[in-house]
Subunit: 202 residues, 2 copies
DNA sequence: ACCATGCCTTGACCTAAGATAAGAACTTAC
DNA sequence: GTAAGTTCTTATCTTAGGTCAAGGCATGGT
């Protein structure tokens, strides 16, 4: 019998690993920081932060997959970002300014997330030069990822965007329904279906 | 007789003001930091950083207007960002990793820019808690601006994007040729012309 | 086991925006 | 001051992708 994700709380495994390996934070610093973060389980479909709400956390995905999106006045969803394991995600604007969130955040799979509040970042930056530098780079990489996405949207066709997406996120193709990928790419599910047929039969 | 911008070097006026007023850095810290930055004049049309080059600076626009863009394989330009006075701009990826730049940066008007290198940011972050917090927020605001732009591209029409652009950057309409605004919006100059006619005659 | 719901595909048709071309109104360069 | 760019507009035609409608599979709940 398979245990559910819920039964096996991951105890910050990935988070700890991420901070030491990728961010270069010393194990002592990591242990000193851990008491001020908390782990939360999110059932598939659970809305973690709704547009208009004031959230207090930034999230690190320990396990599972989150989805950052908005809903327009016709009720259509537009996906801005997928956040699989080892990703950081949040409506940072809202987080920093205590403004109501502009976007929604929900769980696309049963997920475990690490919740980090403002003071975690202050403490971590204060304590660790490595964390500071890393966090800075993290934000800058996100900016670049977004500039590339803007370029893809203004400068390339639906087909090219789809082909790039597959290359960049091969695992996501398996994990999310096709209509969400269409939404991320800025096209309709019907168009994506047609594009896929073209790509397949070439 | 009107003096050219070149003749009147602005001596970090805006930059100084920006750091103290907006970033909250103390005047003493600002003065301590100034020796490690330099001012550069860029003639209209001058390419400051070309795709493929390795640049060493981040730029703060003291006066004038810069343009951050890419050129696709058909030779078409796609504008990712305009940077008027008080903006920060650079190919940060390249800046941080010493990678060749992905994008171009040029002067759209005769401009004065403050050149900041890696060590400026290290020193400033080391020295001033205020700068650190401010820089962090600056990056996060840019991320949000980009998420909004992505949403505009995947979720709204050319006309809506144009109307939003006018609201957000009324001054730029006067300062840059229309075809560049079209490029920023992700449409052709012809389409923008049509959109403008519609908007005017409603 | 069955029905309801969600997801993907296909086809027919439509529309927003791209491509092409040409001309008018300007700048700028010599 | 004239020639050579630019920029913007307008018209016509084309096309990528949207909309609408229907049908086929899965899959999950009772």
């Amino acid at each position: 019998m398979v245990k559910t994700a819920k039964q096996m709380a991951p105890e910050f495994r990935k988070f700890r690993e991420y901070l030491t390996q990728r961010a270069g934070v010393s194990p002592e610093h990591v242990e000193a920081l851990l008491p001020s973060v908390s782990l939360k389980f999110c059932k598939k479909g659970e809305v973690i932060l709704a547009q208009g709400a004031v959230g207090e956390y930034i999230y690190f995905v320990e396990q599972g997959l989150l989805r950052f999106y908005t809903i327009d006045d016709q009720g259509k969803e537009h996906i801005l970002q997928f956040a699989p394991e080892n990703w950081w995600i949040s409506d940072r604007n809202n987080f920093n300014q205590n403004q109501p969130a502009e976007f929604f955040l929900d769980a696309q799979e049963d997920s475990w997330v690490v919740q980090l509040n403002q003071s975690f970042f202050l403490k971590a930056s204060e304590m660790s030069k490595e964390f500071r530098a890393f966090h800075d780079q993290l934000l800058q990489r996100r900016i670049f990822q977004l500039y590339r996405r803007v370029y893809a949207l203004i400068g390339t066709s639906a087909r090219q965007r789809y082909e790039e997406f597959i290359k960049a996120y091969p695992d996501l193709i398996q994990r999310v329904p096709q209509w969400m990928i269409a939404s991320y790419l800025g096209i309709t599910p019907e168009s994506l279906s047609r594009v896929r047929r073209e790509v397949a039969g070439k």
